[in-house]
Amino acid sequence: MRKRRWLAVGVAVLVITVLTLAGCGKKEENNTKGASPSSSPSASSASSGTAAGGTPTLDAIKNRGKLVVGVKFDTRLFGLKDPATGKVEGFDIDIAKGLAKELLGDESKVELKEVTSKTRIPMINNGDIDLIIATMTITEDRKKEVDFSDVYFKAGQSLLVKKGSPIQSIDDIKKGTKVIGVKGSTSVLNIAEKAPDATVLEFDNYQDAFTALKAGQGDALTTDNAILYGMASQDPNYEVVGGTFTDEPYGIAVKKGNADLVAFVNDYLKKLHDSGEYDKLYEKWIGETPIQQ
């Protein structure tokens, strides 16, 4: 009898735990879907944004005195943290600093938070960051979750291989070829579609993926060429081959409904292009001038 009573207590505890967790789930979901009224005093009116002439999101950032941007910390040329100095540098970082200067008059008034392909959308929806500038491709699926600025970088998916590899383009990927990618990135979905025979291995971030390639765990690494160039510059034994086989337009993401922030970012990007600053920035990081289209 006593045993049975303990079992009953156990089951009760389990049920209560699950219900409590379910409750938490509900709360979280409410926060992530749509504009959350609690994240900042002005956010609730954001959906009426620029249409009404107000700039609630921009005002909130100005009041706070700093722009919080989610960037990659592991991606050479775009956002890379130097372990020696602790400084984060790259193309995305320079854009973030430029935006802070434009909005707050000082490029140091930017706070950089590390995001990964997996964490960036939850973080922006939780209100942890104002913008995502993190080599993020604009896709229809993602447009349902966040709003995007105009394209700020035109990338395309390519392959990184060890020099002398028999793989010279996507056509060389045969059955059993091991291709390395990053979890949650568009590139693993693309490769599964364009080279369905490939065995795709997925890792948490680009460093882990490149480490696995170097260790010989895969035959090729696939992602946007911009990131691959960064890896090739890190280790001259590796090269980018076969050109691009997708278009990956990078955009700057903001939380849904913050129209004034999107407009501000687009204005800034236009200014950057018109002044020729953009080409300089591109050359500084990528090492060549942007392809005119």
């Binding site: 967790l21 379910a22 938490c24 789930g25 509900k26 979280e28 979901e29 992530t32 392909s117 997996k118 959308i121 939850p122 979750e145 390395i180 979890k183 949650g184 291995l201 997925e202 890792f203 948490d204 882990d208 480490t211 696995a212 260790a215 010989g216 765990q217």
Partner: protein, 217 residues
């Protein structure tokens, strides 16, 4: 409420991952039990070189992170010309790592068998190995079941390390579902429930075994 559409839409994906987690866990469980028991015997044998080997193994392996042990197989072997699959690397890493803890549990069990048992066995003419196998180890088994249960539960949970090296286990697929649906919380809660599906019955099974063996006392 939890987003149950995640569970229904991706049930097959979860099951695939669960299968791989069970497969890795069972292999590592059997392997680490054998290796761990062998190491435990090494650690208490009168032969000094074997003792050193046992002690060195246990102290080295249990004092470094599991991730490093797995990386040793995953990244350390390829330069030597041995490329194992991510799944094999993860399972081997788990086996090697858990064996160190099992060795300690088993050693404690053996030492808790009264010394007189071994002495009596030896004086009735059994060799050291036979005394160990026939007299001491069977008595030690009962004592080590609870700590072994702990280690096995840890092993099942630790098998999530496979997700880091693309091992296609439960956690790996949970990561993938989360990154495709952006529903983070519910996805991982369901993954957690699948782990409970493995670990809780294991606890009950060892509890039953424990009572069963105690009956013979």
């Amino acid at each position: 409420m939890l987003d149950f559409s995640i569970l229904t839409d991706h049930f097959g994906t979860y099951l695939t991952g669960l299968g791989q987690t069970v497969y890795a866990s069972v292999l590592a469980l059997a392997g680490s039990f054998l290796l761990g028991t062998l190491l435990a015997v090494f650690r208490i044998t009168p032969a000094k070189p074997l003792r050193w080997i046992g002690t060195a193994y246990v102290e080295f392996v249990r004092n470094i992170p599991l991730l490093l042990v797995v990386f040793l197989f995953f990244l350390g072997l390829p330069p030597l010309g041995v490329v194992l699959s991510p799944f094999a690397c993860g399972t081997l890493g788990l086996t090697v790592y858990t064996a160190a803890f099992i060795a300690e549990a088993v050693r404690a069990g053996i030492l808790s068998v009264p010394k007189g048992q071994m002495e009596a066995a030896r004086s009735s003419g059994l060799s050291y190995g036979m005394s160990m196998r026939l007299i001491v180890l069977p008595q030690a088994v009962k004592i080590v079941i609870p700590p072994l249960n702990n280690q096995f539960i840890n092993l099942i949970k630790n098998s999530s390390i496979l997700s880091v090296i693309s091992g296609f286990d439960l956690m790996f697929y949970a990561d993938r579902i989360a990154s495709e649906t952006f529903v983070i919380f519910s996805t991982y809660i369901f993954a957690g429930l699948f782990y409970l599906l493995l670990t809780v019955p294991l606890s009950f099974a060892t509890g039953w075994l424990e009572r069963r063996l105690a009956r013979n006392d």
